[in-house]
């Protein structure tokens, strides 16, 4: 399967065309269209965008908020950076349509601390839209008002988790909240809030302009639309690729040019590790999490070094609030080093740590601790040199 460039197509729809169309519809119809498109959130968790918007639209509470999660922090992902660099008009238009759909006049882009150089371009796009009456007060001469501001994160990975992001926006320590209440009911400053990924918003003008039927024609089954992937590691042509949802990992690697593959990390450090034998698996919410990051490792790599690197990252980035994540990651890192250095006497010794990984998945407060053990389980099970042979626990 070849690339399918929609979001990153050379020729983009005229700025404001989708917004004009949306403003000619009722807010409920806009939400309906997005819901019918079947688009699931592009941040990685895959919550259906239309349902989120519907909940926020129906929530009682003034000053609803549209927040763009541009805290692209998953190791190996850089696809939002491309969108922010080249398609910020589409992003802002998508946020404006979201504002119209849920009844909000205020948007915030929570921008990754490492991306401050993008701020001038985003602000210029905003000003262009305001000048063309596509943002700001009385958009297109009507009653709808919407504006955005850009706020920079401070570098914590956990702030990509939506409730931590909201805490951070409120000037607090970046830590996940208990849910419920969900942000759609009580988010930023207690207001009904939607938090969507950059790519999610960039999809919106295309869905509105071309309709949900067109969108459902892209992808496979319930995995509709296209998806951007940041490909890095041992490939000839690292970069951002746009494919239909449901493409196989092999198809993506063919485009990027990968040889002698040992393993592929799909969905970033918190994602799934697959081996060379699993390249037919699909990039979809039913199989491999299509969060956006795809890291390729050839046979020259020691996967235990890779695992150590991932776990060092999680140990560094756990916010430290809940016990399983705070204390669990560091124990997994310890035992990873023991395995690598041959200090594990028997497979039996590892049992407790697989149990720990399971409890972290089941009992951590947010996605960080719930997914950080994935790499441990995958790599140790499939690829580690253990007493009595490789993997296979």
């Amino acid at each position: 399967m070849a690339e399918m460039r929609v979001l990153t197509a050379e020729l983009q729809p005229e700025a404001g065309a989708a917004l004009k169309k949306a403003l000619g519809m009722t807010a409920a119809d806009v939400v309906f269209e997005v819901r019918e498109s079947g688009m699931k959130g592009r941040g990685g968790a895959g919550f259906p965008t239309g349902i989120k918007w519907n909940l926020a639209g129906a929530a009682s509470g003034a000053d609803k908020m549209v927040i763009c999660n541009a805290d692209e922090g998953e190791p190996g992902t850089f696809k939002d950076r491309l969108l922010l660099e080249k398609y910020s008009m589409q992003l802002l238009e998508g946020m404006t349509i979201a504002g119209y759909a849920i009844g909000s006049s205020k948007g915030i882009i929570y921008l990754r601390a490492e991306y401050p150089y993008l701020v001038p371009a985003i602000m210029k796009a905003r000003q262009d839209l305001i000048d063309r009456k596509l943002m700001g007060h009385f958009i297109l001469g009507g009653n709808f008002t919407f504006d955005v501001e850009v706020r920079l994160g401070a570098g914590a990975y956990v702030c990509g988790e939506e409730t931590s992001l909201i805490e951070s926006l409120e000037g607090k320590r970046g830590e996940p909240r208990n849910k419920p209440p969900f942000p759609v009911n009580s988010g930023y400053l207690g207001r009904p809030t939607i938090v969507n990924n950059v790519e999610t918003f960039v999809n919106v003008p295309h869905i509105i302009l071309n309709g949900s039927d067109w969108y459902r024609g892209l992808g496979i089954g319930e995995n509709t639309g296209t998806k951007l992937f940041s490909v890095s590691g041992d490939v000839e042509k690292p970069g951002v690729y746009e494919l239909q949802m449901g493409s196989t990992i092999g198809e993506l690697l063919d485009l990027a040019g990968a040889e002698d593959v040992q393993a592929v990390q799909v969905g970033g450090a918190s994602g799934i590790t697959i081996t060379a034998g699993e390249l037919e698996r699909t990039l979809s919410f039913d199989d491999l999490p299509p969060g956006g990051s795809v890291i390729v490792f050839d046979r020259s790599r020691d996967m235990m070094d890779v695992l150590e690197n991932f776990l060092e990252f999680f140990v560094h980035e756990s916010c430290g609030q809940c016990t399983p994540c705070r204390e669990g990651n560091v124990r997994l890192l310890d035992v990873t080093r023991s395995i690598r250095d041959g200090r594990i006497a028997s497979r039996e010794e590892l049992k407790d740590f697989f149990m720990l990984a399971e409890i972290m998945k089941l009992g951590s407060k947010c996605g960080l601790g719930q997914t950080s053990p994935n790499c441990f389980v995958d790599i140790v099970t499939k690829l580690a040199e253990l007493p009595g042979g490789k993997g296979g626990i």
């Binding site: 980035e317 756990s318 430290g320 016990t323 705070r326 124990r331 310890d334 149990m355 009992g363």
Partner: protein, 591 residues
Amino acid sequence: MPNISVTINGVNRSVREGVTILEACQTAGVEIPTLCYHPDLSLAGNCRMCLVEVEGWRTLAISCVTPVTPNMKIRTHSKKVRHARRTVLKLLLAAHNVNCPECERNGNCELQELAEKHNITVNEFQTSPKPCSFEEASPGVMRDNSRCILCTRCVRTCEELQSVAVIKPVGRSNQVRISTFMDRGLNEVPCTQCGQCINRCPTGALFETSEIRQVWEAIEDPDRFVVVQTAPAVRVGIAEALGFPTDRSTGRMVAAIRGLGVDRVLDTDFTADLTIIEEGYELIDRLKRALADGDQSAVLPMTTSCSPGWIKFIEHKYPDLLPNVSSCKSPQQMFGALAKTYLAGKENVDPSKVVCVSIMPCTAKKFEKERPEMNSSGYRDVDYVLTTRELASMIQEAGIDFANLRDEKFDKWMGDSTGAAVIFGATGGVMEAALRTAYEVVTGQEIPFNGLNITPVRGMEGIREASITMPERMAKGYEFLAGATLKVAVAHGLTNADKLMDRVRAGEVDYHFIEIMACPGGCLGGGGQPIPTTPEIRQKRAEAIYAEDSALHFRKSHANPEIQLLYAEFLKEPLGHRSHELLHTHYRTRD
């Protein structure tokens, strides 16, 4: 809220809609272990001890924060849940300094108890033992972060109950620690030393600065004359601290302290009565100057000054309102000043040999006694302060069989007390005691409440107000108050004090007299009282306090015979020269 049906461990239950899974299980008699949960505080959901399984859920549910929904199927001891709890517990223990014998909370530690209940004997996550990390010499409250399990109860206590907010989580991942601005010591930040964090800490990460060793040394030194004073709330806390049900045990407490070998066992209640006289006259004087003389320098409302946590709080946060605070020293400090003057004379001992030891329900009292100005007799008013918990520990160490002690009486000269003094231990008690006396002074009649019980100022409501209208006929010299309505307010817990003082500062209220206690429930809920504390426990202690009041022969401070003798022989008159020198003080602005 209507009831809904849920299933807990296979049994159908009808529970109130909107309650959490934890509350539903507690109502159903199903025990769920918790650590970060505390009934006085907001829900944190961070320790993950209370995980339960809910059918259809991808992850386990945190029972303390998750509301029940109709037909929810909850399992509290499935294989998954049991493994999760054991894992969480092992992780906490692995990161904890498990040198239990060295810990103040050995035997009364929630983590230790859970480890025992869950039979955690082997911990595969245990690495090298964590060393102690005592980090400061703070007068009342000490920390050892090596025992901290990061449940943030202390953080929430400091912020939510006390509006002090000097401790927060700092750093991240397994390097998180509870700390202060720039990691300063608690003595270098606006900590009020109230010790409420200690009362809610599930482990021994927070504890009082102990003076047990110094007190034993004083007792064992034949050259020194050790005088002990006991605060009102200690007598309803000491039995609890020794593992018995909440009860008033004044007589046994006196016997136990005497059994430790001290020279005199006397009562802070005596100086509580004295405070009522001095503070009552100060209030009447301020009222006269403000209402009759039009004296602009007479500041109203007057607030009480017996709670040292409150004093430190107002010095930090409302220094502009310091003129509102009564100039009376707290009963503890009045006692100390008199012990080294009046009592030393009565007992014919050299004041330099007198060691004044206070038993207090309070950790801020340890700070208060260190205030440099508390030495107007030429000696430190108070030498050592022990909390109720420290006293219990000494009684245990001495092998005293508390349960079977016979009641004994306080020694003389400063041992008499009244019901008015006892109720100092409960929020609203100082107000009630002051009204019993002040009303009678200005009207010549008893305050017209059934059995002297001024119920409007009692209770656990955070801020309470009341007003009392004076009769037309007043005692001689107080005619200016005829028909006047005296407005009073009571607040306990510094968050309530904060709210009230905001309104005072804004000029939104026209109270004449305000009682403030730093701790929720008043001194009976003080930072030196037995652990744990909950609204129910504080209610029980309050009931014990009011029962003690009702049982006493004298109910009004001015009726205390030894107080009458003290004035006749030593002080001469309220607000007199000696009173000013020994019993009154001044305050300072703090950053």
